[in-house]
């Protein structure tokens, strides 16, 4: 590593003093001179410098005079030393810098008028600042433009060889997809091996390029920076909640840019622990769905078996008449609602208020039910906090990270950059437990590739191993000797050899992983879809909490058990009480004090305790005929749930199905009434991300067609039904939430709470833990009949079903209808990429192609959950968690055979 960062949580660098322009400045030893000068507020021009990576020193602009040296020195690559005397201004330095600009300009095509970076170009600014008007011996490179890559075009005529793109890719993102190559007499940036670019397509190279050498294919030539309106908003794909700029021209989204850019190159490396400002491929290139042709522009009402466009007033009248009719005839228990966690906090709050205070029913659920609620219930039960216990800074500065059941690079790319920074800058040891050789497993120091479905079992092994190796944190376990004895006794049933045989991980490796986790001063266990979306998710999170407890990682700063979420506002959905078991603020629904408080605030009697229903109970009650009307906002159960749950047949039983969505989804096609909703770019509000930060969403565009924000539609509906809501903007809803949940917004910063498991460990823990570590016997008979494990999951380039509407992402990753399999398996079965296979599970069979993916382990196969063509999801068996009601349908055993010759 080079010159930065000067400090990390364990080592404090010594302080030195040096003189800059006659002022004595204190600095940390070992940092770049440029950083020291920048910290005094002086800006020296520099084109190849960015604080997120080590100085490269190619542009020759950051020249300063150092006493004792004859020629100017480059301040970025010079190390600040004690007693240095430095001058940063003067005519000689100006002339030297001007020369450097002229050197770059002499081989730069003066094509500013057609360049996308025109007006946002550092070389242009520098030429202007230094008054470069005449160039002797200018020449052009005439390098053909590289248009082979899917999202970026490389125009190397404009390149100034600052290497910012290469450095950010290699150092910050650890992808290393770009390199310098001497071609045609010039040093050019090319994708690795001079092939078409094949990387994560995060576009951070595009963001840091100070000139127009790297351009965005989707918005090339469509704009000039000054033509666009720039709105700071929050990305609505995954739970990372990245801040980004949505740049719009009239009614279209032209491009998305990130806070990371060459324009904000001055910073402290330590600040990157809160995020380096970049965004991922989904945020940067997946914006086309916002103004897509497929958007619903008019309300639709079913007439004679087809959906007909109807004006808003007529539609709302129909909705209100039919809903109040059902409400009057069959009572509040006949109405239920589902909402997506891609709605804002304000809308989620209004939704549950409409259900509880309006219809007086507690039959409501959100997409947090698909997994996040497992984590929330477990940590709430154990430590009393219903949100992830760690933020990005904790992850970055951790000494050991146990990533278990999470393909984090693909599901939450920016959280994975935090772990990458932990590996690279803070030298963390990362243990990855997964059934696929994921990107993070390839970067990790201790990848443990387990057999599919045994991630939870490996936690048993880790807990057992901690106790066996006596790595216990005495102060933590000493406070609850009874609980610890119960845990020890429960673990008697577990033997490391058995765990090793079932998971395929050697006993030694389990011991080593346990030792790393237990001995690190700051250790975090991060679990995600491989834990919370698989059978026993709730118990497996509790096992992780056991592990954290006995190693003393609960309640310690920078330690904990955390998770990542798939949809942006899953945490917000739980916080706003969109679940039958929670009221807003995660108050339990059966808590009499909270019931009285919210009942008084809404001026109603809340629905009776025990009358609530979660997603699967709602489906069951529709089947039994109790629920007659369903209000679905943004959810798509028909396309999400496997066929064995009969979502389609169930919804057909309804007397009234209202779907409110920006698109005509599979569920909307069945609906009686479809209301066009606006996307996040067309409304105001807030999202709560996986750190618990409340992030603002700002309106960038007018609503497309006659679509309206969800809060607006719900308010209109409530007023039509006679509930008298007086919200005129999302701000009004926010004011109400602020009154009811004081401190929830808290300027976007979650309040720090030290988790404590004392109450949980001293009450009922002994009985609870007794059954937790019971190893299920393997079903050898089914394993022989269905030797492959089919796993469905997320891809880096997609998020849910929403991103399949973004043409930019479909261009990168179209639905190939191919099952991903290990080459060894393909060879064994005599398959290649041209053959068609039949995949059979107890729920049916589908035919599809195959694709070689060496990262899938032998015995596994993977299919992206974003695509239902062919309907792979219908093969899944559904299991329901008895505690949290979370349906598990992401993996199953299948048989694979070749079709035809």
């Amino acid at each position: 590593m080079g010159l930065k960062p000067a400090t990390n949580p364990d080592v404090e660098a010594a302080t030195i003093e040096l003189s800059i322009d006659g002022r004595t400045v204190a600095a940390k030893d070992g940092v770049s001179l440029y950083d020291v000068i920048a910290s005094t507020g002086k800006i020296i021009p520099a084109m190849c410098y960015h604080y997120t990576f080590d100085p490269f020193g190619s542009c020759g602009m950051c020249l300063v005079m150092q006493e004792g040296k004859k020629a100017p020195v480059r301040s970025c690559t010079a190390k600040a030393a004690s007693g240095m005397v430095v001058r940063t201004e003067g005519d000689d330095l100006f002339a030297a810098r001007k020369k450097a600009v002229e050197k770059h300009l002499s081989v730069h095509p003066l094509d500013c008028p057609v360049c996308d970076a025109d007006g946002h170009c550092e070389l242009q600014d520098m030429a202007f600042q230094h008054g470069v008007t005449n160039l002797a011996n200018a020449k052009q490179k005439f390098i053909p433009e590289d248009t082979r890559s899917l999202v970026l075009d490389f125009n190397m005529n404009r390149c100034i060889a600052c290497a910012e793109c290469i450095n950010v890719c290699k150092d910050v993102l650890m992808i290393d997809a770009l390199q310098f190559m001497k071609k045609g007499g010039f040093n050019q940036v090319v994708p690795k091996g001079d092939q078409p670019l094949a990387c994560e397509f995060c576009g951070d190279c595009l963001a840091v390029c100070p000139v127009g050498a790297i351009t965005n294919k989707y918005s090339k030539y469509l704009y000039k920076p000054w033509q666009m309106k720039k709105t700071t908003t929050t990305c609505n794909y995954c739970g990372d909640g990245c801040q980004m700029y949505l740049e719009t021209k009239d009614t279209e989204v032209v491009r998305v840019t990130s806070p990371l850019s060459w324009k904000n190159k001055w910073g402290d490396r330590a600040e990157t622990s809160k995020g380096h400002g970049g965004i991922c491929v989904r945020g940067r290139f997946g914006f086309q769905y916002i103004d897509s042709e497929q958007r619903l522009r008019q309300p639709l009402v079913r007439q004679n078996d087809s959906l007909t466009e109807t004006p808003w007033l007529d539609t709302m009248q129909t909705v209100i008449d039919r809903l109040s009719d059902i409400h009057r005839k069959h009572g509040p228990e006949s109405i239920a609602g589902l909402i997506t966690a891609r709605c804002t906090n304000e809308e989620l709050y209004l939704f549950q208020k409409l259900m509880r205070a309006g219809f007086r029913t507690n039959q409501l659920d959100s997409s947090a039910r698909y997994g996040h609620l497992n984590y929330v219930h477990a940590v709430r039960h154990a430590v009393g906090i219903g949100r992830p216990l760690n933020d990005w800074e904790d992850l970055t500065k951790a000494k050991a990270v146990l990533v278990i059941g999470s393909n984090i690079t693909e599901t939450n790319p920016l959280t994975s950059v935090r772990i990458k920074e932990a590996i690279r800058v803070y030298k963390a040891q990362v243990i990855v437990v997964d059934s696929a050789n994921t990107n993070i497993a390839q970067l990790a120091s201790h990848p443990l590739l387990v057999k599919p479905g045994t991630e939870g079992l490996l936690i048993d092994g880790l807990v057992k191993s901690v106790i066996e190796q006596d790595l216990i944190d005495e102060p933590s376990t000493g406070r609850h000797p009874q609980a610890f004895a119960a845990l020890k006794q429960a673990l008697d049933q577990v033997s490391l050899e058995q765990v090793s045989a079932r998971t395929g991980i050697a006993v030694e490796q389990i011991r080593e992983a346990a030792a790393i986790f237990a001995e690190a001063p700051r250790a975090i266990a991060l679990c995600a879809e491989g834990i919370v979306r698989r059978p026993n998710g709730y118990h497996n999170v509790l096992k992780l909490i056991d592990l954290a407890w006995i190693t003393g990682k609960l309640g310690q700063p920078g330690c904990g058990v955390t998770t990542v979420t798939e949809e942006i506002n899953e945490q917000g959905a739980v916080d706003m009480g969109v679940a039958p078991e929670f009221l807003p603020g995660q108050a339990r629904f059966d808590d009499p004090i909270a019931r009285e408080r919210f009942g008084k605030a809404w001026d109603v009697t809340l629905p009776a305790i025990g009358s609530g229903a979660n997603l699967l109970e709602i489906l069951a009650r529709i089947r039994s005929g109790q629920i007659k009307a369903l209000y679905v906002i943004g959810e798509n159960p028909v396309a999400t749930l496997p066929a064995s749950l009969e979502a389609k047949g169930t919804l057909e039983k309804l007397q009234l199905l209202i779907v409110q969505d920006p698109f005509l989804t599979e569920t909307a096609e069945m609906a009686h009434i479809v209301l066009p909703a606006a996307t996040y770019a067309e409304k105001d509000g807030t999202f709560t991300n996986l750190e618990g930060k409340v992030l603002r969403v700002r309106q960038a565009l007018d609503q497309v067609g006659e679509s309206l924000p969800d809060w607006h539609i719900m308010t209109a509906l409530a007023n039509g039904l006679g509930y008298e809501w007086h919200y005129e903007s999302a701000q009004d809803v926010q004011d109400e939430i602020m009154k009811l949940l004081p401190g929830y917004y808290n300027l976007g910063q979650p309040r720090r709470i030290t988790p404590s498991a004392d109450a949980y460990l001293s009450n009922g823990y002994t009985t609870e833990v007794a059954t937790r570590y019971r190893i299920q016997p393997t079903e050898s008979s089914s394993e022989a009949a269905r030797p492959f494990t089919l796993v469905t999951g997320q891809l880096l380039y997609h998020s849910g079903k929403l991103s399949t509407r973004a043409s930019g992402l479909i261009n990168i990753e179209p639905n190939s209808a191919r099952l991903r399999m290990n080459p060894a398996d393909l060879q064994r079965l005599g398959l290649n990429e041209q053959t068609t296979i039949r995949m059979t599970s107890p729920h049916g069979s589908v035919q599809l192609g195959v694709r070689i993916d060496p990262d899938v382990l032998p015995g596994c196969c993977f299919y992206p959950e974003h695509f239902n063509e062919p309907p792979v999801k219908d093969l899944m068996t559904v299991e329901v968690d008895s505690v949290t009601g979370v349906p598990y349908f992401k993996s199953t055993g299948v048989k694979i055979e070749k079709v035809g010759g």
């Binding site: 095509p109 003066l110 094509d111 500013c112 008028p113 057609v114 025109d118 007006g119 052009q140 005439f142 390098i143 053909p144 433009e145 590289d146 248009t147 082979r148 125009n155 005529n157 090339k220 030539y221 469509l222 704009y223 000039k224 000054w226 033509q227």
Partner: protein, 195 residues
């Protein structure tokens, strides 16, 4: 009052001096050529630097000069220009203006757009007669602007020359920007002066 002054006043009164004095201008104009000319039967000669309606120009080979750089829009003080640029569907990597509007009702004829244009695609002409019954036709679109440019090509060239913008043709060709070619499919030949 002195005797001299009294005598002068009497004399002037006797000879109706004030009337002659007042009629002086009238009599002078009886022998003067009339300034008014019979517009529209007669047309005034307009200087080359005159700022009239704007037109878009093409190169000699018929290609559009405009590269859709939007600098005219940025320079326009009355915000009457709107450029929508795209990649040329027939010639990849080449930027052009897919749509170009000038709201001539807003235009203040300052000529900044012509000065801003890096490829001299915009020029002002001597055309000033575009009165209409329908105000909407005064939003000039790309087609109309090219029509004006074609019809008044000579005026436009004179305007650019008068404003010291167009250099002689050989020199200007060297300054012209050449779009890069694609790695995948070359769309143009190497510029002459380079090969």
């Amino acid at each position: 009052m002195s005797v001299g002054a009294w005598t002068k006043k009497l004399l002037q009164a006797a000879l109706f001096y004030e009337i002659w004095d007042a009629m002086k201008v009238t009599f002078k104009h009886m022998f003067h050529r009339p300034i008014t000319f019979q517009y529209p039967r007669e047309q005034r000669t307009i200087p080359d630097g005159h700022r009239g309606a704007l037109g878009l120009l093409r190169y000699e080979d018929g290609r559009e000069r405009c590269v859709g750089c939007d600098l005219c829009e940025a320079a326009c003080p009355s915000r009457c220009i709107k450029v929508i640029s795209h990649e040329d569907p027939e010639r990849p990597l080449q930027r052009y203006a897919a749509e170009f509007y000038i709201d001539i009702t807003k235009c203040v004829f300052c000529g900044y757009c012509v000065e801003a244009c890096p490829v001299n695609a915009l020029a002002m002409t001597k055309m000033y007669e575009y009165s209409t019954h329908d105000k909407r036709t005064l939003l000039f679109d790309k087609k109309r602007l090219y029509e004006i440019g074609e019809r008044h090509l000579e005026d436009a060239k004179k305007y650019l020359y008068a404003h010291n913008q167009e250099k002689n043709s050989d020199e200007s060709r060297e300054y012209r920007y050449y779009f890069p070619q694609s790695v995948l499919k070359p769309t143009q030949s190497q510029p002459k002066h380079l090969s």
